[in-house]
Amino acid sequence: MSTTTDIDTFVITTLQSFGTEADVTADATLEELDIDSLDLAELAQLVEEEVGVTLESKDLKEIKTVGDVIATVKARQA
């Protein structure tokens, strides 16, 4: 996985698959999507497998929105 759009789509569809009832968009906050530390740990594992980027829980500590998650993945990839 390399393109920017692929990472956006991957993060959004993965977070959606974790069962939140709301629509996952880049603007949505993790709080309103009820996405917690367990979801982020699971996401980090899948990102590592699919994107080849290692995320640690401390990397995601200050994150507020889905867009922040995507930006962090991309920054790590760069």
Partner: protein, 395 residues
């Protein structure tokens, strides 16, 4: 000062007979069974009927079944307006999140350690069910699990009643849950030759050849009588006594003479202020294994003496199989509803007497229990030699 009296103000169940305590009770009375190809799965249970996608994803099947049964019991008891700090939750299991363990182990073996999901531990832990129920209903009193193999459901109820009597809580949502119809568990019980090779559950019958494994959950709302009466709650039955003993004998086999099981029955009656003469019905552990049903018959005979011959004894495992750590709680739900309707449900399929197994096993059809105060014992025994007996009574 007499001990606080504990009553039951709500029941819930998910069993191989369907969703809801009513399906269990009415199904059993009608002689319907929940067996499918030598197992007793909860085929009517669909997570979407009870849980959000996220809740379902974050709960092993045994926890899901507990959540569904607890929601029913809590709704029946009407706990909405109560102070949450005075409500606890104690739910036992034999094993815990076994399908989660097996799935995580498959990933470990096939894809490596880095692919073991972070949800593995919170789903597999054997206290996951009480934790999930407490979170779903904001129960902030004593919340924990109890582990004693196939006696776990009964131990949970006994411990809950004692906690209420000790003043630790006004209300405890208590029961048992199990979902162990997995390849590992089925193979492991087969290795012990515990499961019926013919796939038939026939408790106390001469032809019995092992248990049929089932899954499910039973949850009861236990409450101090004073608290229940003050808030005008419906009282289904009185939880009048409980006792637990150990065989201290063998990892899997019961004592042949049922001596310590009999002692648990005797102590449960004594804790209720009752004697053998008062017993109207015994809801047996009755697994359909050669060893249990013989030892339990000996235990009932020892505990009830001359009265044993006239007391109806029946096993729910004749219709739902063995629900392991959920069994004691599901059978307590069935006993509560049997007392309410003043009827002993039958041991379905019983038809051939074995020499020495000479109790009244209530063959064929339900037996009316008559008028007056009814006193029932519900037996549960577990691998490891655990014996837990509940004494339940009409209001």
């Amino acid at each position: 000062m007499s001990a606080t009296q504990v009553v039951i103000t709500g029941v819930g169940a998910v069993t191989p007979l369907g969703n809801g305590a009513g399906a269990l009770h009415e199904g059993w009375l009608s002689g319907r069974t929940g067996f499918v190809d030598g197992q007793a799965p909860c085929t009517a249970y669909d997570p979407a009927d009870f849980l959000s996608r996220k809740e379902a994803r974050r709960a092993d099947r045994f926890t899901q079944l507990a959540l569904a049964a607890a929601a029913e019991a809590i709704e029946a008891a009407g706990l909405d307006d109560l102070q949450r700090g005075r409500i606890g939750c104690i739910i036992g299991t034999g094993i815990g999140g076994l399908s989660t363990i097996e799935g995580a182990h498959d990933l470990l073996r096939d894809k490596g350690a880095e692919r073991v999901p972070p949800l593995s531990v919170p789903l597999m832990m054997s206290n996951a069910a009480p934790a999930a129920v407490a979170m779903a209903h904001d129960l902030r009193g004593p919340v924990f699990g109890v582990v004693s193999a196939c006696a776990a459901g009964a131990h949970s109820l006994g411990v809950a009643a004692r906690a209420i009597q000790a003043g630790e809580a006004d209300v405890i949502v208590a029961g048992g849950a199990e979902a162990a119809l997995t390849p590992l568990s089925l193979a492991a019980f087969d290795a012990l030759e515990a499961r019926s090779p013919t796939g038939t559950s026939r408790p106390f019958d001469a032809r019995r050849d092992g248990f049929v494994m089932g899954e499910g959950a039973g949850v009861l709302v236990l409450e101090s009588r004073e608290h229940a009466e003050r808030r005008g709650a419906p009282i289904l039955a009185v939880f009048s006594g409980y006792a637990a003993t150990s065989d201290a004998h063998h990892l899997t086999a019961p004592r042949e003479d049922g001596g310590q099981a009999a002692e648990a029955m005797r102590l449960a009656l004594a804790s209720a202020g009752r004697t053998a003469a008062d017993v109207s019905y015994v809801n047996a552990h009755g697994t359909s294994t050669p060893l249990n049903d013989a030892a339990e018959t000996a235990a009932i005979t020892t505990a009830l003496g001359d009265f044993a011959a006239r007391v109806p004894v029946s096993s729910a495992k004749s219709v739902i199989g063995h629900l392991l750590g959920a069994a004691g709680a599901v059978e307590a739900v069935a006993t509560v509803l049997a007392l309410r309707d003043r009827v002993a449900p039958p041991t379905v399929g019983w038809g051939q007497r074995e020499p020495g197994l000479d109790l009244d096993y209530v063959p064929d059809s339900p037996r009316p229990l008559g008028d007056g105060q009814l006193v029932a014992l519900s037996n549960s025994f577990g691998f490891g030699g655990h014996n837990a007996v509940l004494c339940l009574e009409t209001v």
